[in-house]
Symmetry: D2
Subunit: 247 residues, 4 copies
């Protein structure tokens, strides 16, 4: 008999991360990782009060000891043998749109530290749990899903601090897909190409219809769909954009 | 009130096309297009006897008058105002793996005639029906989906007659996605990267587990998933491959 | 001793084709292919009167018998054993920027006939001569170079009739590069991404500096450079654009 | 009158970096950056004794103060107003081919620190000098060239520590090309796809002809060619591989 599998979501801000966590919480206990408690507490409360199970752990994905500590807490909560059905990497560093020669070093390196090194730490921490999920014959292939952006495939002027990390993360996801697919773990990369419809973007694109923004619930459905694909039909990459988007 | 919408599938051989048609037949009357009646008759019979509705029409997608004739027959059957919920282009010409200097002209041009020109004819014939589907407020955004292959993104030695048509078809799908997305039609391209598990490939990859081949039912699920994406979250392209595939 | 090698240029309009022909004419006798004599005659005259050697042959690259006839004439002129140092495919069909549903069938198919099928005929006709160039120990590796465009890698709305042929041609060039590189023929694809500075574009981009357009002589230098790369260092693809171009 | 412009090469190991430095030293005084004096001293001596001018500076590109110190030394040597005609980033971190779960954190981060952060520091340090080169009306557009690899466009299993940095560097180069092209600086990325023929690879690919490896002198010629392209015809990316390479 398989023990209960969990889902882990890193980067649970108010948009994609929260929606994805809610979606996966309908099936799995979810672990919410964010740097600050205020990012995960309301969501954990919401999920727990709706009959799901969620715990939050303050974690800086850019810091390996912080990520190791999170894994330790997960094991304390769910047992040393806990397996994962899904691990979602949705974290992003604080990049800046800026003329390159005015870009501070710390903005460049911290963006890279979250996207690239954070992706590395998160993958090294969760893949052993996902492989446990394979052993424990999870219903759906255990899934490691990375959130990408337009800047994952296109590197525009003034956007070097964002694109470098995102390209690195996409490279990581492709290498992992090739290594861990044959071991039964489904690694995917999602190119989110457009503005997501969240509180922060409320004032953006005024005059455009509501459908001009990506729905976070729609994105969560797409992540869930990727998760349910059988081992015969794995998708590495999908792009997502509003129908009216110019691209 | 919206009238009944249909799904149209071109290229209903024994693999992807048939599975996709069965999947969409659970919701829509389906029109099966193939050059020869023996390709669609057993499938039409099967769908009709299972409570669905299917008609087959002998059609050469490479020939514009044949495609126009198919549209005429569709209108005779379903009414002049018929709208489409989905149109799936799954046809492929008879390419040949061959040293380039030994490749006969007619192999090259007939492959191109099906993949590229056939894709053009099929799109021009079905887009007006898909736009009718938009007007008639179809439940899911009307979808035009093209079947691609590894050779749609990689053009290997000896494969020029296959890759040229497939790259052209991918270009067509991208241009149409950009033009018709804003009009409410969801245009997608699916990169099928691996061997599909059908009768014809039964003897291939002996010694490998069954999971080393793509499941046609899995592919059909993926097409259906693309079809059900809302206008806020359109995917243009997904790749599909067995977990154990090397790529 | 090696006999004299020739260069063959298909599509010698007033821009890239003519400049490339002039450049290669400084080293090789050149064969100019175009549908109409008025496209090659002034250029042939110019080259011949400047001490070079050029002949023009009326050729429709979309028509295999026309291309075979051109090869026949080349052999009559230069001998049955003639080898080629370079073959440049610079032809383009008459596409149209158009809403897809208003695009006439003949525009779509004729664009494809030149770019894709024309590329096929030209390659089948010239590769045997290029392989002769290898045998005859040409100074530089015999080169087959295809002219691409922005639309070779990006398929925009309303541009389906151009992009399909250009993507097909790019696929052809990649497959040929992989097959014939090991045989000593250098196959390249050039993505010309911008407006070329020729008579026809004189009125375009008014108010922009002259440097906002690609120089045809510059393009010719790039083709020549590709031609001179040694077998240890072949480039398949380069992109070319004005420094000020937005991309 | 323009003052003398320099070329700066980071990463002058025994292969590409040294060849590129030799090539550019024929025209410009060159600055050789490497972590250890033994990497640049013999080369500096060789260039100086052959009538060129070279200075070496011990520099860790991953460390911003080390890079700033190098710029300081360059100004002491060549004057505060010194402009650069070329800056070549050829450094690579010490990656490891390894199962992902056995990859040490420091290998991952140090590879990234050189390729991505090193690329950032080098670009921020040299772009002001390259822009000075533009002001001083350099004969050829000042050029910032990055050395990429197969792993810059393809991220294979077990290669995550190399590919992440290389993809990030490619993203950086694309963003800079778009920002600084319009300012007259030519930014390029070279995908070196194959084994380079140097001392270290002498025992590799035994039984293959010498031409199966990339010539470092050939690569240097390609960099020089990119450098000489006029502002009307900039190439962002070229790939380089031996004619016999499988790809």
């Amino acid at each position: 008999m398989s023990s209960k599998l969990i889902a882990i979501v890193a980067g649970v801000g108010p948009g994609t991360g929260a929606s994805v966590a809610r979606k996966f919480a309908a099936t799995y206990p979810v672990v919410l990782l964010a740097r600050k408690p205020e990012s995960y507490e309301p969501l954990a409360k919401e999920i727990n009060s709706n009959g799901g199970k969620a715990i939050g752990i303050s974690t800086d994905v850019a810091d390996s000891s912080s990520v190791k500590n999170a894994v330790q807490k997960i094991k304390e909560e769910f047992g040393n043998d806990v397996g994962a059905a899904a691990a979602i990497f949705n974290a992003s560093g604080g990049f800046r749109r800026s003329p390159f020669l005015e870009l501070p070093e710390d903005v460049f390196t911290s963006s890279l530290a979250v996207s690239a090194t954070g992706g590395f730490h998160f993958s090294q921490a969760t893949l052993p749990l996902l492989l446990k999920g394979v052993e424990q014959k999870s219903k759906y292939p255990p899934s490691l899903i990375f959130t990408g952006a337009t800047a994952s495939v296109k590197s525009n002027a003034l956007m070097a601090s964002f694109a470098t990390g995102k390209w690195a993360l996409r490279a990581l996801s492709q290498s992992l897909a090739k290594e861990f697919g044959p071991q039964g773990v489904h690694v995917s990369h999602v190119v989110v190409d457009g503005v997501i419809d969240i509180e922060r973007t409320k004032e953006w694109m005024k005059g455009m219809p509501k459908e001009a923004k990506l729905s976070p619930e729609g994105i969560a459905n797409d992540y869930w769909y990727l998760h349910t694909q059988p081992v015969t039909n794995f998708t590495w990459e999908i792009d997502l954009r509003p129908a009216v988007e110019k691209w």
